[in-house]
Subunit: 121 residues, 2 copies
């Protein structure tokens, strides 16, 4: 057994996991997916996603803190957009991966969140 592997950089792991958590929530991911089509105001995001306004706002703040989206105020509207096109690349590649492993992921019971996709009307 080879226990003398180069040590794992725990900080690097932590931060990478944290990055993925940005994509790992259905509501946040939905917002990101919508933003792939170009910038949107908070109100538009609320309408399109059906999420509540505070919920959208909270997730946007999270994504913005993580520099995954950037904001751009125009009058009373604040337009959000993806900060980096690598985000799109990662999403595209995940879709390709999913085309292989979708069934397994679908059936996976360890986590099975049903949050985030209820309408608010």
């Amino acid at each position: 057994m080879d226990t003398d592997q180069p040590l794992l950089d725990e900080q690097a792991i932590q931060i990478k996991a944290k990055l993925f958590r940005g994509f790992a929530d259905p509501s946040r991911l939905m917002l990101i997916e919508v933003l792939r089509n170009g910038k949107k105001s908070v109100g538009e995001l609320v309408e399109i996603t059906g999420l509540s306004q505070p919920n959208v706002s909270n997730h946007l703040r999270c994504l913005s803190d993580c520099d995954l989206v950037k904001k751009d105020r125009n009058g009373r509207y604040i337009y959000y957009s993806l900060s980096d096109k690598r985000i799109t690349t990662i999403l595209r590649q995940s879709e390709q991966l999913l085309s292989e492993v979708a069934k397994g992921v679908y059936d996976c019971t360890r986590y099975n969140s049903t949050n985030g996709l209820e309408k608010n009307e």
Copy 2:
């Protein structure tokens, strides 16, 4: 305001978010990172990561259910390895993205898990 966007495919979002949750936990991500260097038995993974054996086993089951890793029994040992090289690609691209947004992610306070990196001795 354009509310007549093509409807979001909620099932697709759910499953994609679920895929990312595979990568979103430090312990699981650590296992995946180790497996980037080639297949390892459960015992080796326990040693290398410092996680407890049941914890490793649980996470491996999760990853295996999701078809992100595959198992290969050899005598009493079960060797795990990454199932698809797209996983490596996604990880590499996330590293690139992180090189841009690392500070934001690091500072992000919305989620701040400190789990998963304690030793078990």
